[in-house]
Amino acid sequence: MFDNYLIRKDSLENVEENGKITGFKFAVRIADYRGCFLSLHNGYYITVDGTEYPRELQRFEINGKAPRTFEELKTATLEHWNYDDEAYVYVKKDGGLAPGLHKVGLQQSILSQYGYAKHDEEWVKNPPVPGSGDGAGKTFVVCYYDLELQK
């Protein structure tokens, strides 16, 4: 679902903080037909040109607030990511990405459910690692995008 459209094509940029390039960011939409409580967001499987950037290096910007880590988002139990809204994923990488085209792979992990499941207790203790397909919404595959670095 929305396989080709989860990342906005012209949104890949390096991120500058205090005069230093600390990483990159891109704009995403939810891979589902409904929004979700932010606490359910468990991060992304992200690769850029074959290098994986795990959840610990990621932050998520939504609802006009500063980017938050996925540990911080766990406590946003009543705050919603509206279906209509674009969010930004920030990824830590000293020096950012080089100018030019990059191949970005993406799979979300949002723990939205349709009721009780056998894995519930396990997921409280050990949430799935993004990329396993758990929480991928209605987009089961890892989707790849050729993105030009904007700045």
């Binding site: 037909y33 359910l40 766990k74 209509d84 459910q113 009721g115 009780y116 499941a117």
Partner: protein, 359 residues
């Protein structure tokens, strides 16, 4: 009196995603494009800032439905058991979520909420007084692969969530309604339970993502000749390289492509008609019936026989279109996206024709 036509705005999820239509445009289409008046929504898709819609949203919602003389029929609500993250939501908490959703539904003028197959019966029982107080019926969805009637002795099947399918789900709901002599709990059958084969958009998606598209044809053409495990074994022998499909050969994919039986029979509807709150008209692709210009059908789902039964049993509720085929056509360029508005219009041509003729 007759069966009535409505639309779940779920059908326009792609148009909403690409900002071609917002919910106001969708409501207008229901009235002006379809001549229908039933509106169903997904709470987390349509309600801005769910679960705390602003007064402005509520005001505009009522105003638009009034402007287009539409009725708020059913609001689809969910159960995210991981919401609190530090513990699994218990049944009392699940009931609180359902009660709050009922209050939101009431605020927006909905007659019903649709809850999921996997919502435990005690959760519904706990929310029942709230449903009665707010005059909102709780309808439990009968979604494939759930059946209407229980399986023969000894037969079990596994469903979503990894648990065995509760094949007494419908019995439990009817018993609960009878126990309290209430109409505030009932069922929302989805026409997906009458799907008998894989949809063409799904088959085509699989072919585009398979290194050997002919393997997908082989599966579909031979679905009656092998069991699912036999088919998987055969494919592994025929195509030993593991990288040949984006998702690997999981049973689910093969099972879906090999579908040749529906999870319920049209006749099964007879005993549940008095308990039906509203229905979901799931469909994937409407194609013109050969030799009948302007008449459409979904080749994967039986509509005619269930509607005949519903007519005979005097069902007078809403069937709300639930278009889902767009999802399998979003892996290519914009020019290949499906036209949701046209698909739903075709679906309504079929619905009205079958309402009028399947007696």
């Amino acid at each position: 009196m007759a069966i009535k036509r409505g639309v779940s705005l779920y059908s326009y999820q792609q148009s909403q995603f690409f900002k071609k239509m917002d919910w106001k445009d969708q409501v207008r289409e229901v009235r002006e494009g379809l001549g229908a008046d039933g509106v169903e929504i997904i709470d987390e898709a349509t309600i801005r800032d769910y679960p705390f819609p602003s007064d402005q949203f509520v005001y505009e919602w009522h105003n638009y439905l009034a402007r287009y003389r539409c009725k708020a029929i059913t609001m689809d609500v969910y159960l995210d058991t991981m919401q609190w993250r530090d513990h699994v939501m218990n049944h009392e908490e699940a009931a609180e979520r359902l009660k709050f959703d009922i209050m939101i539904a009431a605020k927006l003028g909905f007659r019903n909420v649709r809850c999921l197959c996997a919502v435990p019966i005690d959760v519904i029982e706990m929310a029942l007084p709230t449903a009665e107080k707010y005059d909102v019926r709780i309808g439990k969805e009968i979604h494939a692969p759930f059946p209407i009637k229980r399986y023969p002795e000894g037969v079990t099947r596994e469903g979503m969530g990894g648990f065995p399918i509760n094949d007494r789900m419908c019995e439990e709901i009817m018993a609960l309604a009878d126990k309290y002599h209430t109409k505030y709990v009932g069922l929302v059958p989805d026409f997906g339970i009458f799907q008998h084969s894989a949809s063409q958009p799904r088959i085509d998606w699989q072919k585009r993502h398979c290194k050997y598209p002919e393997a997908i044809d082989f599966i579909v053409q031979n679905k009656l000749n092998y069991s699912v495990p036999e088919m998987i074994r055969l494919l592994q022998e025929k195509y030993p390289d593991e990288e040949w499909h984006a998702r690997g050969w999981t049973g689910i994919q093969v099972e879906g492509l090999m579908q040749h039986e529906s999870s319920a029979q049209p006749e099964d509807l007879r005993e549940i008609v008095p308990y039906i709150v509203s229905m979901h008209g799931k469909f994937y692709q409407m194609t013109e019936i050969p030799g009948e210009p302007g008449h459409y059908e979904d080749k994967a789902i039986d509509y005619a026989n269930p509607i005949r039964v519903l007519n005979q049993e005097g069902f007078e509720g809403y069937i709300d279109s639930e278009y889902e085929g767009q999802r399998d056509q979003q892996d290519r360029g914009i020019e290949f996206l499906s036209d949701e508005v046209e698909e739903v219009r075709r679906h309504h041509e079929m619905l009205q024709r079958l309402f009028d003729t399947m007696k």
